[in-house]
Amino acid sequence: MKIAVCIKRVPDTETRIRIGADGKSIDQSGVKFVLNPYDEIAIEEALQLKEKSGDGEVVAIALGTEESQETIRTALAMGADRGILLQTDVAPVNPVTVAKALAAELDGAGYDLILFGKVSVDDGSQAVGTVVSELLGLPSVSAIGGLETADGKGTAEREIEGGVEVVEFSLPAVLTAEKGLNEPRYPALRGIMMAKKKPLEVKPVEVSDEGITVVELALPAERPEGRIVGEGPDAVPALIEALRTEAKVL
């Protein structure tokens, strides 16, 4: 099975965000960047599928700056066979732009499955994988928490509000991974050493992000200062009173 996993370099979720001098992006100084946590799940799923099928290849693909090489190395350390960096300094705001750049690389490359994390924790559009499937004319299931494949077909489960949708699809297909699909492995020391020797191809790409422009990036409005209504269970009546008469939510 030949599997592509599209990954992204994102700020760690414990990062405190500061706005950059341009007022349109974040201040990257001191920010720790990591492999998007949902992409780890996609890589793990690809590795398990390859291991189960006994042969095949897992290719990690990222669109981003030179620094994304580190992110690809993390995927290689987990066990991916090779990496491709589509290198650009443009960070598109329109997810369709990202999808087009990835689709151009994926098209005709013979992948049986193309996996994504369901969302990247930076701009959080939860869109790129599904747009790629449309651009390539492939079936796709997004935000899957369960997957079974056999004989060129698959069944995926995706969580919806108050239930789980069961979706049957044909391969090749695009899938995006939700938490719960698997438990991603940590790269072992041996994997990290081997990753340094695995092939990582860098391809410069021209990316033109059109249609959406950032007017402003701002920190969210501070919430108005709250108050401690009291200590211990005896404070409960005062809380109820406040929720009823001030906040009017009870």
Binding site: I212, I228, V236
Partner: protein, 322 residues
């Protein structure tokens, strides 16, 4: 002038509440630009769409088919694209639900147009202008969308549906023929259905302070007493396997904006705050008075949750009973 297409959502043949939010948002944009609102309903026959006009739709287009009872990605995308191309729409709006998060990128991909997902504000100012959270709400990006059409999904619970004296006439359109390669075959629903954290007007969130998985029963009881409430969880307790990831609130879980969020035994890590700080009212119950959760809470009780929560449950039962 901007005409807007509002794509509504049904479950089991009944329109969901988010549908009214989407029509209301569409009306706001259309009014500011002098345009009209068409609502698109996809589903089985017999859906009652008589209320849609009252939220601001000029026209309701119903595409019916037995095959459209469940969300079918390819058929829904084809019908939405066909409708978009048949009119002069500046924007296609839908709710950023599980369905909308799958459908919006399909439509944008097929139309090759810009997509702004999960927006929390939407207005017309010589074009569509939206605000959407980045870094799960640690920052808010204001974006201008130049192209028409564009696709915008609106976060559930951020638009207050407004009923007005308006009457949209319904018309029916046939579903398009599509090649089906991915098919939704069923929805499995849990035996004891509780509201999803993203949809519930009240969320009771629990953290490590609960000490063990079994103690979430306290929060279940509180949620039951509150009625339309969901139980949420911090990343720590989901990682510990106490609760399902479907309940996780935070940057690697769900972002919620309920009317009331009650944080119980949650210290308030940055990534958790990112997921719930847009709640209308936040209550924190924690034994550590210095916990960061109190910085975002409107009301706090410092105390032992094992004493405070049962009392709160009892008082709410009394309130509801009386």
């Amino acid at each position: 002038m901007a005409n807007v297409l509002a794509v509504l959502e049904q479950r089991g043949g009944a329109l969901k509440q988010v549908s009214h939010e989407v029509v209301t948002a569409a009306r706001t944009v259309a009014d500011a630009s002098g345009g009209g609102v068409d609502a698109l309903v996809l589903g089985p026959s017999g859906i009652d769409v008589s209320g849609v006009g009252a939220y601001g739709a000029d026209r309701v287009i119903v595409v019916e088919g037995d095959d459209l009872r469940l969300y079918q990605p390819e058929a829904y995308a084809a019908a939405t694209v066909a409708q978009t191309q048949s009119g002069d729409y500046a924007a296609v709006l839908m709710s950023a639900t599980a369905m909308g998060k799958d459908l919006a990128p399909r439509v944008a991909g097929r139309l090759d147009c810009p997509l702004a997902a999960d927006v929390t504000e939407l207005e017309w100012s010589d074009g569509i202008v939206v605000s959407r959270p980045w870094y799960s709400g640690k920052a808010i990006a204001k974006l201008e969308i130049a192209a028409a059409p564009c696709v915008v999904s609106v976060r559930p619970n951020v638009v207050n549906p407004i009923e007005r004296a308006h009457d949209g006439a319904a018309e029916k359109a046939p579903p398009a023929d599509v090649e089906v390669r991915a098919r939704t075959v069923e929805i499995k629903e849990p035996e004891k259905a509780r509201l999803d954290v993203t949809e519930a007007p009240v969320v009771v969130g629990g953290g490590r302070g609960l000490k063990e998985a079994e103690n979430f029963a306290l929060l279940e009881e509180l949620a039951d007493a509150l009625g339309t409430a969901a139980v949420g969880a911090s990343r720590a307790v989901v990682d510990a396997g106490w609760r399902s990831h479907a309940e996780q609130v935070g940057q690697t879980g769900k972002t919620v904006s309920p009317q009331l969020y009650i944080a119980v035994g949650i210290s308030g890590a940055i990534q958790h705050l990112a997921g719930m700080r847009t709640s209308k009212v936040i209550v924190a119950i924690n034994k550590d008075g210095d916990a960061p959760i109190f910085k975002v809470a409107d009301y706090g009780i410092v105390g032992d949750l094992f004493e405070v929560v049962p009392r709160l449950t009892q008082e709410i039962k009394n309130l509801r009973g009386g």
